[in-house]
C-alpha cells in the first residue's frame, strides 16, 4: 500500500502540466472554440511530440502501455488548462471501448491510429450526441444493445455540429446507417470500459479544472483591492476559498482511488468510478461558480476565462450521467435495495 505517485508518475504529471501550461493558452483555446473545438496543433503536439495519445493503451497497439492513474494524471493536466482537444472522446471513451470489446482485428485497425492522432475517435450514446463529434473520423456508438463502430467517411454518416455551451468540447449529432456499421465483438465489455474509464477521466478533468479555479481565484484575491484591502483579507472570501480546497482535496482522493481501483481491478472499482464522477464534477461546478462570484463583475465578462471553466464544469457534470445518477448507482452498489 502506497497511495502516492511513483517517481515515474510524478514525472508524467510534471511533463503534462508543463506541456499544457505552455501550449493550451487562453488565446489558443478561444481560437479553437470559435472554430471546431479542437486546437489541431495542440493535438498534434500531444499525440506526436509528447506521444501520449495512447497513454493508457498497450504498447502493442501503439500506446504508452501505462494505466488509468497515468491517464488521470494527463486528463487532470488538460482540465487544468481547459485544453481544447479530443482527449476524452478518443482516449477515455472510444479507444477503451474498442480495446475492451473489439476483435483483434478491430483493435489493430484503429487503436494505433487513434494513439498517433491520425484518427479522431469519439463515442455516442442513445441520444446520438458525441463530444467532438464534428471533427471525429470514427464513432463508437451504443445502441442500447449493440456497440457499433461507425466511420465518418461512410456516405450514410452525417454529423451536425451543435452550438454547445462548452465550446471546447462541442457535441455533434450523429446520423448513420446501422447496417453499414461494424459491431464490436463484446458490447458489454466495451460498454463497461467506456462507462468506467470515461467517468474517471471526466472526474480527473474536473479535478484539474477545479484546482485551476481555486489557484486563479486565490491569485486574484491577493491582488484585487476593495475597501482599501485585498479581498483575500476578508474572512468571507478566505473561508469560501478554504471550502473549495477542502472539496478539491476530497475530489483528488476520489479520482486517484478510482484510477488505482481500476488499474488493480479492485472489487470496488465501479463504486469508486461512480463516486469520483459524482464528487469531482460537483466540486468543479461549485468551484467554477465560486470563481465567478469571487471575481465579481470581471468574472462575468466574456474576456475573462472564468466562464470557460464554468461551461466545462457543466459539461463534465452531465456527460455520462449526472452526479445524482452516479450517486444512485452508489446507493445500489452498497446494497440499499437488499431486504432488511
Amino acid at each position: 500500500m502506497q497511495f502516492a505517485f511513483t517517481d515515474e508518475q510524478a514525472m508524467i504529471a510534471e511533463t503534462a502540466a508543463g506541456f499544457f501550461a505552455e501550449h493550451a493558452t487562453s488565446a489558443r483555446t478561444r481560437a479553437a472554440m470559435a472554430d471546431n473545438g479542437v486546437d489541431a496543433s495542440l493535438w498534434q503536439a500531444f499525440t506526436q511530440e509528447l506521444g501520449l495519445g495512447g497513454v493508457n493503451l498497450p504498447e502493442a497497439h501503439g500506446g504508452a502501455g501505462l494505466g488509468m492513474v497515468e491517464m488521470a494524471i494527463v486528463a487532470e493536466a488538460a482540465g487544468a488548462h481547459i485544453a481544447a482537444l479530443p482527449l476524452l472522446a478518443g482516449c477515455a471513451l472510444a479507444a477503451p471501448g474498442i480495446l475492451a470489446g473489439g476483435t483483434d482485428e478491430q483493435r489493430r485497425a484503429w487503436l494505433p491510429r487513434i494513439a498517433s492522432g491520425e484518427v479522431i475517435a469519439t463515442f455516442a450514446g442513445l441520444d446520438l450526441l458525441a463530444p467532438h463529434g464534428g471533427v471525429a473520423d470514427l464513432f463508437v456508438v451504443d445502441t442500447g444493445s449493440a456497440m457499433l463502430i461507425v466511420r465518418r467517411d461512410h456516405p450514410a454518416t452525417q454529423v451536425t455540429t451543435l452550438a454547445t455551451m462548452d465550446a471546447t468540447r462541442p457535441y455533434g449529432r450523429l446520423r448513420f446507417d446501422p447496417t453499414a456499421a461494424e459491431p464490436l465483438a463484446d458490447p458489454e465489455a466495451a460498454r463497461a470500459a467506456i462507462r468506467r474509464i470515461g467517468a474517471i477521466a471526466i472526474a480527473a478533468d474536473a479535478l484539474g479544472g477545479a484546482q485551476s479555479c481555486l489557484d486563479r481565484t486565490v491569485r486574484y484575491a491577493g491582488e484585487r483591492v476593495q475597501f482599501g484591502r485585498t479581498i483575500g483579507s476578508f474572512q468571507a472570501v478566505k473561508h469560501r476559498l478554504a471550502d473549495m480546497m477542502v472539496a478539491i482535496e476530497q475530489a483528488r482522493s476520489a479520482v486517484y482511488w478510482a484510477a488505482c481501483a481500476q488499474d488493480e481491478a479492485a472489487s470496488d472499482a465501479d463504486l469508486a468510478a461512480h463516486a469520483a464522477k459524482a464528487f469531482a464534477t460537483d466540486t468543479y461546478a461549485r468551484c467554477a461558480g465560486d470563481m465567478i462570484q469571487l471575481h465579481g463583475g470581471i468574472g462575468f465578462t466574456w474576456e475573462h476565462d472564468a466562464h470557460l471553466f464554468f461551461r466545462r464544469a457543466q459539461a463534465d457534470r452531465t456527460l455520462l450521467g449526472t452526479p445524482d445518477w452516479h450517486r444512485e448507482q452508489v446507493a445500489r452498489l452498497i446494497g440499499l435495495d437488499l431486504a432488511a
Binding site: 454547445t164 472570501v237 465578462t301
Partner: protein, 389 residues
C-alpha cells in the same frame, strides 16, 4: 392582515388588463413575450411612449408629473398585470424606478418639472453611473471627478456596468467634486446627457456573449450647473437612497418575470419526464416556495413598516434565480447544453443558467449584502477599512 384585494382594486386591475391586452394583441403584438433586456430597443422605446401617452408609464407618480396617482394596491396589481400580459421589459426601467423616485425625493420643484414628465412620457431613457473599475463592491471609492466650469459641471472618469447605456438619453453619475476627499464624502450626484462628445459608451461582452452592460467614459463631458441632485458633496446620501427604491413595487414586476422562468423550467420538466424525479420535484417545490415567499416578503415591505427585513430581499432573489438556473440545467441534462432548432426553451434556460451568475454580483454582491444585513440590521461591528489605495 389581509391578502385579498378590494372590489375597487379589482376594477383597476380589470382596466389595466384590458388596456394591456388590447395593445399587446394590437399595435404592440410584436413585443409580447420578449424577455431580453436588449432586444428590439427601438420598438420598446415606442412602447415607453405609448405607456406614457395612456398614463400607464409611472402609475404611482403624482398626476402632476405624468403619473396616475395609483394607490399601493393598484400599483401592485398593475405590476402583476403588466407581467401577466407578457409585456416587454421596460427599456426605461432605471428612469421609471430609480431616477424618477430619486428626483421626486431629492429634486427641487424646478428639477421635478424638468426631468419627471419626459420620463413618464417615455421621452427620456436613463441609465446609472455608479460602479467603476476600482469601485465595484466598494461603491464609495469613486475616482470619476467633476468640477465647476462657469455654469456647467465638467466630468472626467470612467464608469462600468452601465446597463443599457447604449439606449439611454441620460445617465446619473456619482462623481467626486471635492478634491482630495475620500470615501463617501465629497461626492455629488449629477444628471448628465449621454449624447455629447465627452461621453463614450463601449459595450462589455458578458459570459452569455451578449453586451447588455457597458463601460462609459467621461472625457470633458458637461452638464448644466443645476443638474445636480442634493447639495454638492452630498451625493452619497442621494446615491444610497436610490438603492432603497430598488425594493419598491418594481420587485413584483421582476417576480412575474421569475414566474415565467420557473414556469419554463416546470414545463421542461413535465415535457421530458424530469417532473417525475423525486429529487427534481423537491427542488422545483423549493423554487416555487421561494418565489411565493419573495412575493409575500415584498407585500410585507410595501404594506408598512418592514424595518430592516427589507435588506434581505436582494440576496433572496439573486440566490433564488441562480439556483433556478442550476435547476434548469439539471432538468434538461445534456440537451440543455446544445442549441437545437426544436428547443427554444433550452436556449432560454441555458441563458438563464449563465446570466443568473451575475445576479449575486451586481447591485451589491451576496457578500456585501450579508455585511449590510449584519451591520445595519443586526448591529454587528463594521468591517475595518484597509489602507491600500
Amino acid at each position: 392582515m389581509k391578502l385579498g384585494f378590494d372590489p375597487d382594486e379589482e376594477a383597476f386591475r380589470a382596466e389595466a388588463a384590458a388596456w394591456l391586452e388590447a395593445e399587446l394583441t394590437g399595435p404592440f403584438a410584436d413585443l409580447r413575450g420578449i424577455t431580453s433586456l436588449t432586444a428590439m430597443p427601438d420598438r420598446r422605446r415606442d412602447w415607453e411612449r405609448r405607456l406614457g401617452e395612456a398614463g400607464w408609464s409611472c402609475v404611482g407618480w403624482p398626476t402632476a408629473f405624468g403619473g396616475r396617482g395609483a394607490t399601493l394596491g393598484q400599483q401592485v396589481l398593475f405590476a402583476e398585470e403588466y407581467a401577466r400580459a407578457g409585456a416587454p421589459p421596460r427599456l426605461n426601467h432605471i428612469g421609471v424606478e430609480l431616477a424618477g423616485p430619486t428626483i421626486l425625493a431629492f429634486g427641487t420643484d424646478a428639477q421635478k418639472q424638468h426631468f419627471l414628465p419626459p420620463i413618464a412620457a417615455g421621452e427620456a431613457i436613463w441609465c446609472q453611473g455608479y460602479s467603476e473599475p476600482n469601485a465595484g463592491s466598494d461603491l464609495a471609492n469613486v475616482r470619476t471627478r467633476a468640477w465647476r466650469d462657469g455654469d456647467a459641471w465638467v466630468i472626467e472618469g470612467q464608469k462600468v456596468w452601465t446597463s443599457l447605456a447604449q439606449f439611454s438619453d441620460w445617465i446619473f453619475v456619482v462623481a467626486r467634486t471635492q478634491e482630495g476627499s475620500r470615501g463617501p464624502k465629497g461626492l455629488s450626484f449629477l444628471l448628465v446627457p449621454v449624447d455629447q462628445p465627452g461621453v463614450t459608451v463601449r459595450p462589455i461582452h458578458q459570459i452569455t456573449g451578449e453586451a447588455e452592460f457597458n463601460e462609459t467614459f467621461f472625457d470633458g463631458a458637461r452638464t448644466p450647473a443645476d443638474h445636480i441632485l442634493g447639495a454638492p458633496g452630498a451625493g452619497w446620501e442621494v446615491a444610497m437612497a436610490l438603492l432603497g427604491f430598488e425594493r419598491g413595487v418594481s420587485t413584483l414586476a421582476q417576480q412575474m418575470g421569475f414566474r415565467n422562468e420557473l414556469d419554463a423550467v416546470i414545463a421542461a420538466a413535465r415535457a421530458n419526464g424530469a417532473a417525475r424525479d423525486p429529487l427534481i420535484r423537491q427542488r422545483i417545490a423549493q423554487a416555487e416556495i421561494g418565489l411565493r415567499l419573495m412575493r409575500y416578503g415584498a407585500l410585507r415591505m410595501l404594506s408598512g413598516d418592514p424595518g430592516p427585513a427589507a435588506m434581505t430581499y436582494k440576496i433572496q432573489w439573486a440566490t433564488w434565480r441562480r439556483d433556478l438556473g442550476a435547476l434548469a440545467m439539471t432538468v434538461l441534462g445534456v440537451a440543455g447544453e446544445v442549441a437545437d432548432a426544436e428547443q427554444a426553451t433550452s436556449a432560454q434556460l441555458a441563458h438563464l443558467f449563465l446570466y443568473s451568475r451575475a445576479d449575486t454580483i451586481y447591485g451589491g454582491t451576496n457578500q456585501i449584502q450579508r455585511n449590510l444585513i449584519a451591520e445595519r440590521a443586526l448591529g454587528l461591528p463594521r468591517e475595518p477599512r484597509g489602507d491600500l489605495s
